[in-house]
């Protein structure tokens, strides 16, 4: 391979991106050296096993990826804003819609959710950390390695260009000869392993580490949603692992799984992909439901209506989510019986989803509602998501889907579920739990401004797409002629996209502004909330709870506040903590290089990197580390300092 093939050349946009990447990296290196922060970075972040810090790192990455994916989106909208635009060529457009989809779902929504669950779940169940803190760090660094690998593709070698669903035969080496889809299979593989390990970790944490008295049916709804999500992960992600493995074999070693000759079967890919892919959309939406449940009940000042049915509906959704995958390819010829079956199961999902919507409405009913920023997102979610769900049921009717399939109508549908669902939820959760982690709230006025920008612009951007789809505009087309008449609505959509961008910029500005000017919160419970995480001081000390709380019912903290009872009457004793380790980080680096070398089929370096991975795993196994203790006096002092009173 020649050097001019190695780097992507010839496009001014990409040169611009290269220059800015180099400049930003230099600035970071310089800043770290100038302010002597290397040691701090290594000790406090790169080697941390603290679930709160790992959560924060996930969220920072997710925000960066939101930016990257957002730029992709703006480029796409700019290209389609008017007929016959010459802004991007077809190949570039293909790469951008592919990376947009992959990044937004796998490197933005998922890590954002993982970040929130890392920070909050141990606190909600009264635990000191997750069950396996080191494994948790490994999960994070594998995700990070995968994300970085995916992101460098657009300057080194070229990005994947066959859509986020990478259908064969298009994604095969024959029709996508660049290394782009190698990046796809390897980066998702690496971060997918991290995801699977997170799934295992959190199931054990939730099932085995709850504070005394917290029975399953007393758990906060967010924790419930995470538990069920992790179960889906355990059964869905191995399917992706295999699908990506076979894809890699087809592309790198000439196997014949999805080829058009020698017995290969391209539809096998579509099936494997969606057997994972549909559960995946529920992996991002169920925790979102959990977040909304927490926020709605907090700001309606009522307990959650229909707790049991909330749990049951999630269980039903998780089971059904494995039985609907073929609705993504009704048109690919599997016959009326099969389509009929999947049509019915798909529509059935709307039932438990509807149950949840009504439960939220009943929770709001007669509540004393305070319209905070997180609450605004939650309230807006309900009607917008309902539009997404109803259009989903329209798509679920197999015969009608022949009309809608792969048009902008479909694009509108899934943005109407994913944005109010996943994105509003993580932003709402971000505003809601921000004071817990950093000790001050984000500014409400700026927060609400960003909310209105985002909520309105979202509808301006995506509502027109329903009509574009019905008029016959197919998805993933990079341009169209004047006569089609698609121009005006696409222009409207572009205007909305700009509004969305402004909204997100406001959101980030709010973080900056609030860090400088917001008053600090001494109470640890600025929203007057209900679950255990609010009983700790903010920012939460490393050990989380000075003494393990005792739980007597649902909304334990709320009732402890109301009845003026302490959550525990035990004395503070020394606390055992796991020690930091740099190995997970090093493992992530090794995996990154392993993936990178495989992308380019550089076998000797790949083998060396593979051996490095094994050696690191072995040294981890040999390590005998028993952690350390925080003495009782130190805990008493910390608690006094953070709360400004005695415990």
């Amino acid at each position: 391979m020649k050097w001019d093939e190695f780097f992507v050349t010839g496009d001014p946009l990409i040169y611009g991106a290269m220059v800015s990447i180099v400049l930003v990296s230099l600035a970071i290196l310089f800043g770290l050296t100038y302010y002597k922060k290397w040691g701090y970075l290594w000790r406090e972040w790169l080697t941390t096993v603290d679930h709160k810090k790992i959560g924060v790192m996930y969220i920072i990455c997710a925000l960066l990826m939101l930016f990257r994916g957002g730029v992709d989106a703006l480029l796409m909208r700019a290209q389609t804003a008017a007929p016959e635009m010459k802004f991007l060529d077809a190949q570039h457009y293909n790469e951008i819609f592919t990376t947009h989809g992959v990044i937004m779902i796998l490197f933005m929504a998922m890590p954002f959710i993982f970040g929130l669950m890392n920070v909050i779940v141990p606190l909600q169940i009264g635990a000191r950390d997750v069950a396996f803190p080191k494994l948790n760090a490994i999960s994070f660094w594998l995700f990070f390695a995968g994300a970085m690998l995916f992101n460098i593709s657009f300057i080194i070698g070229g990005s994947p260009d066959a859509g986020w669903s990478a259908y064969f035969p298009l994604a095969s080496i024959e029709f996508s000869p660049t290394v782009g889809n190698n990046y796809y299979s390897l980066s998702l593989q690496i971060s997918g392993i991290g995801t699977l390990l997170t799934g295992v970790n959190f199931i054990v944490t939730i099932l085995k580490m709850r504070a005394p008295g917290m029975t399953l049916m007393r758990m906060p709804m967010f924790t419930w949603s995470v538990l069920i999500t992790c179960l889906i992960i355990i059964f869905a992600f191995p399917v992706l692992t295999i699908a990506l493995l076979l894809m890699m074999f087809d592309r790198l070693f000439g196997s014949q799984f999805f080829t058009m000759a020698n017995g290969g079967m391209d539809m096998l890919w579509a099936n494997l992909f969606w057997v994972w892919g549909h559960p995946e959309v529920y992996i991002v939406i169920l925790p979102a439901f959990g977040i909304f449940s927490e926020i709605i009940s907090t700001f309606a000042r009522k307990n959650l209506y229909g707790y049991t049915s909330m749990v049951m509906s999630m269980v039903v959704i998780s089971a059904l989510s494995f039985l609907v995958w073929a609705h993504h390819f009704y048109t690919m010829g599997q016959g009326a019986m099969v389509n009929g079956f999947f049509s019915i199961t798909t529509m059935a999902i709307a039932v438990p989803t509807g149950v949840k919507i009504f439960n939220w409405l009943f929770t709001l009913h007669k509540g004393r509602i305070s319209f905070t920023t997180p609450m605004l997102y939650s309230l807006a979610f309900i009607p917008i998501f309902t539009i997404g769900g109803v259009t989903g049921v329209m798509l679920a009717m197999a015969s009608a889907d022949y009309q809608y399939h792969n048009t902008m109508f479909l694009v509108a549908h899934f943005h109407y579920v994913l944005i109010p669902g996943a994105v509003f939820a993580v932003i709402a959760g971000f505003h809601y739990w921000f004071p817990k982690v950093f000790g001050f709230r984000l500014n409400e006025r700026l927060g609400k401004m960003a909310f209105w920008f985002i909520a309105i612009s979202f509808n301006v951007t995506f509502f027109p797409m329903f009509f574009l789809g019905l008029q016959g505009m197919t998805r993933r087309t990079y341009t169209y002629s004047e006569e089609t008449g698609f121009g005006p609505l696409n222009l409207l959509s572009m205007i909305g996209a700009i509004g969305l961008a402004i909204g997100f910029i406001l959101l980030v500005y709010n973080i900056y502004w609030s860090t400088r000017y917001q008053p600090r919160d001494k109470t640890g419970d600025p929203w007057d909330a209900r679950a255990l995480e609010w009983s700790t001081p903010s920012p939460v000390p490393v050990y989380n709870f000075a003494v393990t709380p005792k739980v007597k019912g649902r909304d334990a903290f709320w009732f402890a506040k109301k009845n003026n009872e302490p959550l525990s009457d035990e004395k503070i004793t020394k606390i055992h903590m796991p020690s930091n380790t740099g190995k997970p980080f090093v493992l992530g680096v090794a995996f990154f290089f392993l993936g990178f070398f495989l992308v380019f089929s550089w076998w000797t370096p790949s083998i060396i990197a593979g051996i490095a991975v094994l050696i690191i795993l072995a040294t981890m196994s040999f390590e005998r580390d028993h952690g350390y203790y925080i003495p009782a006096e130190e805990i008493v002092q910390t608690e006094q300092k953070l709360r400004g009173d005695t415990v």
Partner: protein
């Protein structure tokens, strides 16, 4: 670290119990993984294009030998855990060594099998059937190979530290893994080889 003396060593601490439970969950994911591979194999089994089919290349003798070796190794790893429960360090290590040797022999025959397949004109790229066969067997074989490394690492630790909460826990989890590989092999033996030979 709170130690519960009423429990066997490997279950003795809360962390140990969590690890074992976590590993069971991981095995759940492994089941999903192999289930997917089997599904792929069954979908593609009759798509051998112009290459040989299963019936043409499978031979019972080496496969029976492999089965015998792996089943025996599952028995010996059971004996290792039995010895561990009795607190016999040397016997535990000895049975793990035997297990690993049997595993290595299994792997040797499997690699030899692969060579004969290639020799008879069945390579990864011959047909969809060939790809799925090699991938299914190869994934299982790679698990065995990883197990050999993992087992050796545990042996060294047993030698260094004797039987304690940490090493006992690791040995036990390793035994779960090894039994699991055995179960997968039984499925491969019955549904790939025996069915293929019919």
């Amino acid at each position: 670290m709170k130690i519960d003396a009423t429990q066997p060593l490997e279950y003795g601490t809360e962390e140990n119990r969590n690890r074992i439970f976590g590993f069971w969950l991981f095995l759940g994911a492994e089941i999903a993984l192999f289930a997917t591979l089997f599904t792929v194999y069954f979908v593609l089994v009759n798509r051998y294009a112009s290459g040989p089919s299963g019936a043409e290349i499978f031979e019972l003798t080496p496969v029976l030998l492999e089965t015998f070796l792996l089943l025996t190794s599952s028995f010996t790893i059971g004996l290792a855990i039995h010895a561990m429960r009795l607190g016999l360090k040397k016997q535990t290590m000895m049975f793990i060594v035997i297990t690993l040797l049997l595993g290595a022999a299994f792997l040797g025959i499997e690699i030899y099998e692969f060579f004969t397949y290639v020799h008879e004109g069945l390579t990864l790229s011959t047909s969809a059937f060939a790809s799925s066969l090699f991938t299914l067997l190869g994934t299982h074989g790679a698990h065995v190979a990883f197990g050999l490394l993992w087992g050796s690492v545990i042996l060294i630790q047993l030698k260094k530290h004797g039987l304690d909460h940490s090493t006992a826990n690791k040995s036990f989890i390793f035994s779960l893994y090894w039994h699991f590989l055995d179960v997968v092999w039984i499925f491969i033996f019955s549904f790939v080889y025996l069915k293929g030979l019919m």
